[in-house]
């Protein structure tokens, strides 16, 4: 046990000092936090401030539209209202061509020729891509005309206000589902990343020791099983430290007033979610890193490993494919079955826990199945490892690997 501890300690200390670890641990959560909250804040607080012109014969409509666009809930535009004439049209056209001009477009309202029909709204924009302004304008016209019609039909202004107020669902009891979904997705992606990254790190570390022939020195004092155990524990501890920092950061950010400013009264990440994430990481890492250890012991170089790492990547990518099944119906039979498969549980069961109420027996079962799988893979890997690390040169073929399993 002492030797396992020494190997794990060395692995941990050497890895945690690398630049890659520090960057991955500190910079990635910073960038992600900045992105999430940056986009959220921008979306919440940016109002359209474009400068447009409205040309109409209907002065009331012009004034209402101007009022709506200049001091509306989501717009803060500058609106000039004109009566139609050829001089106005050519002046506006000239302004649109002026490179330093602020005018981004103008609306030309042509009254309908048939009485009672809607007028014709023509919008000329400086840039066809300025969809935000167009949408704002469209919404405003809709609101203003509806209101005018309602008033014309004899409703009072206050009645109109009541009718046109938009409805918002109160989700404060369960938390914002959009935020919860977003969090679940981020956690899923993080899990995919760390399992693959640290699984591959285990394989790489074995290849490094193999190519530097340090094995020969180590095996002169300790058993291959101790070396393998120390390595997996060491690399896993690095992974745990990294996600520990990340989870702490996510939890702190999610519970800060910043999250509150996004309009959610519930923290998007719960302690239970973080706990399950850490647990599923440990089990997932053990499954994939012990597979990777066997791959590392079989190969001689990173290039050879690249050819074999599909074996690790395919089950993980399959989980991505299953997302389209799990997300819309996290309690379907298919979702329940695939999330219990040990190779997929770390990603899919964790995702289901974030999305729905998973029965506890399923969670227990997933951990039980994963434990059995880990034991089986470790049995297999340690045999491959024991023989493989002393084999240099050619890559073993399948019959040879089976023969290795028989050596005891």
């Amino acid at each position: 046990m002492h030797n396992v501890w020494l190997i794990a300690k060395r692995e941990y200390l050497e890895r945690i000092r690398t630049k890659a670890f520090i960057i991955g641990t500190v910079v990635i959560p910073l960038v992600m936090g900045a992105l999430v909250f940056g986009v959220g804040l921008l979306a919440a607080h940016t109002k359209s401030q474009s400068h447009i012109a409205v040309v109409t014969t209907d002065a009331t409509f012009g004034a209402d539209l101007k009022q709506k666009l200049e001091s509306g809930k989501s717009t803060n535009m500058r609106v000039d209202v004109f009566s139609p004439s050829d001089a106005v049209r050519s002046s506006l056209n000239a302004q649109m061509k002026d490179k330093d001009g602020t005018l981004v477009g103008y609306l030309w309202v042509t009254p309908a020729t048939i009485p009672g029909a809607r007028p014709n709204y023509t919008y000329r924009a400086r840039s066809a891509g300025d969809i935000a302004t167009q949408n704002a304008l469209q919404d405003a016209i809709q609101t203003v005309t509806t209101r005018e019609q309602l008033v014309a039909h004899g409703l009072s202004n206050s009645d109109v206000d009541t009718l046109t107020t938009s409805i918002s669902l109160d989700t404060s009891a369960t938390g914002n589902t959009q935020a919860a979904f977003f969090t679940a997705y981020i956690l899923f992606f993080l899990m995919y990343m760390v399992i693959l990254l640290y699984g591959m790190n285990t394989a790489r570390s074995i290849i490094e020791e193999k190519s530097s022939r340090i094995f020969e020195v180590l095996l002169a004092t300790i058993k291959p099983e101790e070396l393998l155990a120390g390595k997996i524990i060491g690399v896993g501890a690095v992974g745990l430290s990294q996600i520990g920092v990340w989870m702490l950061a996510i939890f702190v950010i999610a519970n800060s007033h910043l999250a509150g400013s996004l309009g959610s009264t519930h923290a998007p990440v719960s302690l239970a979610q973080i706990g399950f994430f850490v647990l599923y990481f440990i089990f997932g890492f053990l499954i994939y890193s012990s597979m990777a250890a066997a791959l590392g012991a079989m190969t001689n170089s990173e290039q050879e490993l690249q050819q074999l790492n599909m074996l690790l990547v395919i089950p993980l990518v399959f989980c991505f494919a299953m997302l389209s099944v799990i997300i819309p119906a996290p309690d379907s039979t298919l979702a329940q079955v695939v999330s219990l498969v040990p190779f997929f549980s770390p990603l899919l069961m964790d995702m289901r826990i974030s999305l729905t109420q998973v029965p506890p027996w399923q969670i227990w079962l997933s951990f039980g199945l994963m434990s059995l799988t880990i034991a089986a893979i470790l049995w297999f890997s340690s045999r491959i490892y024991r023989i493989g690390i002393l084999m240099y040169g050619k890559k073993p073929n399948l019959p040879e690997i089976f023969r290795w399993l028989k050596y005891s």
Binding site: N3, L6, R10, E14, E208, E209, S212, R213, I214, F215, E216, V217, L218, L219, A220, T221, I222, K223, L390, E400
Partner: protein, 307 residues
């Protein structure tokens, strides 16, 4: 009572026989040379001695007991190829390896510093291994095998890649350890060192033991039929039936004679023919000559059997 005893060990990798029926005993307090051409099974034999691989049949006894892993703390091992963490600092590396051998961290650190001072590479201590020259790395590896003060030191080709100054520094260190009563086993191609320093040798070829025993006993088995002659003038004396083989060098010739007695006859015939003899030396075969002869013989026999 031998400190290392291999009894009839055999190891087969897939279809290739690496070691076949090897029996070997090494006495404590001696320096033992394991010789053999490339691919003859030296490294395979050494790996079985320290339990890195297990023989298919036969037994390994260390310190007069059947092999147990706990005995490994009493052994220092230097592998054939350098095995060090490239990115690790030398001092951390040595401390780590010392701890694996059962030392406490502070003792390992202290001894690492002392050894580096002794082998004149103190300046390497804070550096990363990859920044060091090959010779320096070899010294670090050498120190790593000795930190825990092992009773039995096993070194696989310790002198490859070292310049003569450093090679003799390491050799002197090993001699010093032997005089403290440690047992040293090393494999090498360098016959001159074996000839000068080893008490006993074993020569293996194609996985089989060809020759073993104390240096003196082995040499005495071979007739003193090698002659080195330095001469000027008439070389007619070289056409003698007693001369089996002659290899000229500048200013002379190396002769292999059919018998020890033939030397005097050759000398007499040279003198009568008026050749000026500058030097005429009868000597036993050098280890190198024995090596080449025996290895050739082992290959010849197997080929004859196969044919």
């Amino acid at each position: 009572m031998p400190i290392v005893e291999l009894h009839n060990i055999r190891k087969v990798y897939d279809s290739k026989v690496a070691v076949e029926g090897l029996t070997l005993a090494i006495e404590p307090g001696t320096m033992f040379g394991l010789l053999g051409p490339n691919g003859s099974g030296k490294t395979s034999s050494i790996r079985m001695m320290i339990g890195m691989t297990v023989p298919d049949s036969g037994s390994v006894q260390l310190f007069d007991e059947p092999f147990r892993r706990s005995q490994l703390h009493r052994i220092g091992y230097l592998p054939e190829e350098r095995g060090l963490y490239k990115k690790m600092k030398v001092i951390d590396q040595l401390t780590f390896l010392g701890c694996l051998h059962g030392l406490s961290e502070s003792v390992a650190r202290k001894r690492a510093k002392e050894w580096c001072e002794r082998l004149q590479i103190k300046e390497a201590l804070p550096k990363k291994t990859e920044e060091l020259s090959k010779g320096m790395q070899q010294k670090i590896q050498f120190i790593a095998a000795l930190l825990h003060e092992p009773e039995l030191i096993i070194m696989d080709e310790p002198f490859t890649g070292l310049d003569p100054v450093n090679a003799s520094l390491l050799m002197d260190t090993l001699m010093g350890l032997r005089s403290q009563g440690r047992t040293i086993l090393f494999s090498t191609h360098r016959m001159d060192q074996v000839e000068k320093f080893c008490d006993g040798i074993a020569l293996i070829s194609r996985g089989r033991l060809v020759l073993s025993g104390s240096m003196r006993a082995i040499k005495s088995r071979y007739p003193r039929n090698h002659v080195q002659v330095a001469f000027t003038g008439n070389d007619a004396f070289l056409r003698d039936d007693a001369i089996v083989e002659s290899k000229p060098f500048s200013g002379g010739v190396d002769l292999l004679l059919s018998s020890e007695a033939a030397a005097q006859k050759v000398l007499a015939s040279a003198v009568t023919q008026g050749t000026i003899i500058n030097r005429f030396e009868v000597h036993e075969p050098s280890l190198e000559e024995i090596f080449i002869e025996e290895v050739k013989k082992s290959f010849g026999e197997t080929e004859a059997v196969e044919a």
